[in-house]
Symmetry: C2
Subunit: 251 residues, 2 copies
């Protein structure tokens, strides 16, 4: 296998890791991971994101509580918090003597910063996995985002989009099946679920097998049942007011 | 070089490609790219994104106009439009006989879908580059998003986050320098620009050299000057009303 085809094999080998060895990732590896994150594209080269790498045991313990008591937030080596960051753009405006604050208040710039953070994070994830490390994304960082801001001293115009646990894997979970390609990729025009619903039913059958075999999985086992179960409750409806308070009025 | 270290070398070799050969990417490569996109993580396995791959010449010509007259949107082989997609989750609710519409209206779910689309896109970009293809992200898809929705028949609760041009490269641009790591990565707590500003000035000096050497680059050549120039105008302030119309009230 040459390294080009190896890249696709590598991407296709991903699974989220939730059990970590008690072993610290060395600084040079972290630098390689962050450097890789930085090489992702960003909107107009704004690089509107920052990363806080948490290793401090007290801070990690606090973050376990704030993100929904997921133990791996504490047991991973580095908990990277990916932040959308317009604070740095505001400083750029100050350096240039131009007030761009009104523009920074827009939904568009919130979107730019959120996407920049996400593209960088996925590069970090892939780089980490190529070093033999395991990763899992933590959306739970948005459970109590104001408290996370206080803990990590995030200033106005910076918010935590998600966390990323990084560490040496201590289990080897089976890979979660994805939706049939026909349900998510369309040529030249979108196909609504009026057309694609058979693929969702086929996927339900696939996931039924997967989740029944997976230890600790509880019913429902089929995909539509699981995601509807998850999303039917009101989830994180504090986000809009949190963001406004944190300097993202989304105008 | 083994394939693991090759992955990081590959990530670090990225540059955006804006000139493409007149050569179609074959279907098997596109399938590999989409499959790789699907293997990215997604929030609670919701996979809340879709991809419309545009190859139709008339549609591409229209998209060139809608995205700011960037010719490479037309000359690339495949123009992939990455969409945040809650339409499929709504259908999952219908299949389960549960109305989750109120939750789908939240800013949180908008965020989930936008991040899902972004993580998938970055995997697609990396996979494409490993096949010898070039890519460039197109935020200009948000210049006239309602028209893009009509052209690609995107239903309510689906919006185009960005485009991704894919094709065989016809130039080999130099790599754009990134911010010093010290300006974007922090250990355990955020450092504001009160602390990191010297790194921004150092970066201005680096980019000054880069942009002066780059053909067609116009002043200002330093990073803070360029991004402030770009972001000082009101940009895409239609996004909030567009999203509301497109089924994302962001409550």
């Amino acid at each position: 296998m040459n390294w080009q085809s190896g890249v696709i094999a590598h991407l296709n080998n991903h699974r989220s890791i939730r059990k970590f060895q008690d072993k610290k990732v060395d600084e040079e590896s972290i630098r390689q991971i962050i450097r890789s994150a930085q090489m992702a594209s960003s909107s107009n080269h704004a690089q509107a994101y920052s990363i806080v790498g948490v290793t401090d045991p007290d801070k990690k313990a606090e973050l376990v509580k704030l993100t929904g008591d997921q133990p791996f937030v504490g047991t991973c080596s580095h908990f990277l918090v990916f932040c959308a960051d317009l604070h740095r753009l505001e400083a750029a405006g100050r350096i240039e003597g131009v007030d761009i604050g009104d523009n920074l208040d827009t939904l568009e710039l919130f979107l730019v910063a959120t996407v920049d953070a996400s593209l960088a994070a996925q590069n970090a994830a892939i780089a980490a996995e190529s070093l033999g490390l395991g990763i899992v994304y933590i959306g739970g960082i948005r459970n109590h985002p104001a408290e996370v801001c206080r803990l990590l001293k995030l200033p106005s115009r910076v918010y935590p989009v998600f966390g990323l646990c990084i560490g040496y894997p201590n289990h080897n979970p089976t890979q979660k099946p994805r939706l049939p390609m026909e349900a998510i990729y369309f040529e030249n025009e979108y196909q609504t679920t009026a057309v694609t619903e058979p693929y969702l039913h086929a996927y339900n059958a696939t996931t039924e097998v997967y989740y029944r075999e997976r230890t600790k999985a509880v019913a429902p086992y089929h995909w539509t049942g699981r995601i509807v179960n998850y999303f039917k409750g009101e989830k994180r409806d504090h986000m809009k007011s949190f963001l406004k308070m944190q300097g993202f009025p989304l105008e």
